[in-house]
């Protein structure tokens, strides 16, 4: 819809599609619904690391996010709508975090505050650090910074409110919690030899089988750096070009082989 010129909507002659004909009531209802939802967003009283200090600083009287209806920080997930993931998510902590998220009632939102929660942050290389909470939970708004200042956090919260404003009751993707049946809980990670995401059990099993066969696993080769390719292509010497051609052929063969393998795997999976 992005290419639609919104001004055209003001035109009284604008054709209303059939499937939207009966939705006029819902749009204004959505507005009320969104307004009330975004104006009483109760965050979970939940601090993880350094960013939590700035989050409390935001809640305190100088920056005061109660101006946005968020003053009631709840200790219990059952009473909160917004999880501000404020800090480094460790493997040991991701288990309780997922549990807390599952306990929050719908509609629920997640705001990743700071570099750590968004993508691992400065401690990303560590062995106990999850590279971003979005590996496990759906994140609505990311606030970069290390730590984001209180003003930056409020900017993020306003962004979240804007996001809610843009949602519509008519769109099932926006309000999945009105669907049939209970919503699926996020599977809780297992602390084994390392953290294990149950959703990835299949991949892990496959990798483990490869390992049992003595094949390398766990590391996927990166595509060759692009710059080198460009430079090589521009290489003027014909000899180099010939060598390139050989490489291209090899790469092609490799790709073909890989595709066949993947196909075989797929068949095997179907057969199971």
């Amino acid at each position: 819809m992005s290419d639609l010129n919104l001004r055209e909507l003001h035109n009284t002659e604008f054709p209303i599609p059939d499937e939207l004909q009966s939705n006029l009531a819902i749009t204004s209802l959505s507005k009320v619904y969104n307004w009330s939802r975004r104006s009483s967003m109760w965050p979970l009283l939940f601090g993880l690391a350094c960013c939590a200090i700035e989050m409390i600083g935001t809640a305190a009287s100088r920056f005061d996010f109660s101006r946005f209806g968020m003053e009631v920080m709840r200790g219990s997930p059952r009473q909160s709508d917004l999880m501000i993931v404020s800090g480094t998510v460790t493997k040991k902590m991701i288990v309780p975090i997922v549990r807390l998220y599952n306990q929050m009632p719908e509609p629920k939102y997640v705001l990743a505050m700071g570099a750590c929660a968004s993508g691992g942050g400065p401690f990303k290389e560590g062995y106990n650090v999850v590279s971003g909470v979005d590996k496990y939970l759906p994140v609505d708004v990311y606030v970069p910074g290390c730590p984001p200042t209180p003003q930056a956090l409020i900017h993020g919260l306003i962004a979240l409110q804007k996001k809610i404003d843009g949602q519509s009751l008519a769109n099932m993707d926006d309000v999945p919690w009105y669907g049939v049946g209970p919503s699926e809980p996020t599977p809780i990670p297992i602390l084994g030899p390392d953290v294990i995401d149950p959703r990835q059990m299949d991949i892990i099993r496959r990798q483990a089988e490869l390992a049992a066969l003595g094949k390398p696993y766990g590391v996927r080769e990166l595509p060759a750096p692009q710059m080198k390719a460009v430079v090589a292509a521009k290489g003027a010497a014909p000899a180099a070009a010939a060598a390139d051609g050989g490489e291209v052929d090899a790469a092609k063969a490799e790709r073909l082989r890989k595709r066949e393998e993947a196909l075989a795997r797929k068949h095997a999976a179907k057969g199971e």
Binding site: R62, G121, P144, C146, Q151, A159, V231
Partner: protein, 285 residues
């Protein structure tokens, strides 16, 4: 014998006083507390009483000069008479080496023909999901080419597309830097002894041309004027023509070597990108 309740009563008086003081302050300024620049300064300063909430986003605390958020790269302004839009960064790699969480990736510029390194990065990335805003890159860059930005309003809905800053996104003109941190920019210019890039200073010295000496100013347009004033031979026709054409003309003069053509091409692309970015920014504001 202690009288129970005394301490509590005293406490309650104090909390009550806090409450009253805030409102009293409000009344004293008759509401202009929230609209007046000098009142803001008073409210956020040492003399304030009661609560002193910042009404973000209607009013924002302007951050101090040394404030650091994510880094950005300094490039010459688009109206720079000699090297419009060119990088200050020489891709020396010091920032990438000193960065504690190693979140800077630099592709060193390389001349496509001679394969020799050229002082300008081919690509420059910073992953702001790793960056710890420590300011080391800015502190140790020998060319004052990377600086800490003051723009903290970067919340986004998607990090995969928005959180690795590439060169286009990182580049900001020198005048921006002079605007957000006039004191620091002046100190640096003083240390360089000139308002120009230290390499320019060096090459000009070699050529025997005077570079723009350091005179304290906080006005970017004045810096531009100073640079224009010391231009060796101001050719008025070239001055008036759009910069891209001018550089193309310069290439033509120097003789059509493949090297120069490529350079001109790169320059043009960069200028276009910069212009795009500037217009985008202007549009968003």
């Amino acid at each position: 014998m202690t009288m129970y309740g005394q301490g509590i009563l005293r406490g309650l008086t104090i909390t009550l006083r806090h409450l009253v003081r805030t409102y009293f302050n409000d009344m004293r300024y008759m509401g202009k507390k929230y609209f007046n620049q000098s009142e803001f300064e008073l409210r956020q300063g040492m003399k304030t009483e009661g609560i002193y909430t910042v009404q973000y986003p209607e009013e924002k605390i302007a951050v101090p000069e040394r404030f650091r958020f994510t880094p950005f790269l300094v490039v010459e302004d688009a109206d720079h008479p000699e090297r419009p839009g060119e990088d200050w960064c020489t891709s020396c790699g010091i920032c990438a080496k000193v960065c504690p969480p190693q979140c800077i990736w630099i592709v060193r510029g390389e001349d496509p023909v001679t394969k020799r390194p050229i002082p300008e990065p081919q690509a420059f990335y910073i992953d702001i999901d790793i960056c710890m805003n420590c300011g080391y890159c800015a502190e140790f860059c020998p060319f004052d080419a990377i600086k800490m930005d003051h723009d903290y309003e970067m919340a986004s809905y998607d990090r995969t597309t928005a959180h690795i800053h590439d060169k286009e996104k990182l580049s900001k003109p020198f005048s921006y830097w002079l605007n957000i941190a006039p004191t620091t920019a002046n100190e640096e210019a003083e240390a360089r002894g000139s308002w120009e890039h230290s390499d320019t200073v060096k090459s000009k010295k070699k050529a025997g041309v005077p570079s723009v000496a350091y005179t304290p100013t906080t006005d970017p347009s004045q810096v531009m004027q100073m640079i224009r004033a010391t231009m060796p031979e101001p050719a008025p026709a070239a001055e008036a023509a759009p910069t891209a054409e001018r550089s193309a003309a310069a290439v033509a003069q120097a003789g059509p070597s493949a090297e120069d053509a490529l350079k001109a091409e790169r320059l043009r692309k960069r200028q276009e990108a910069l212009a795009r970015k500037l217009s985008k920014e202007a549009g968003s504001q």
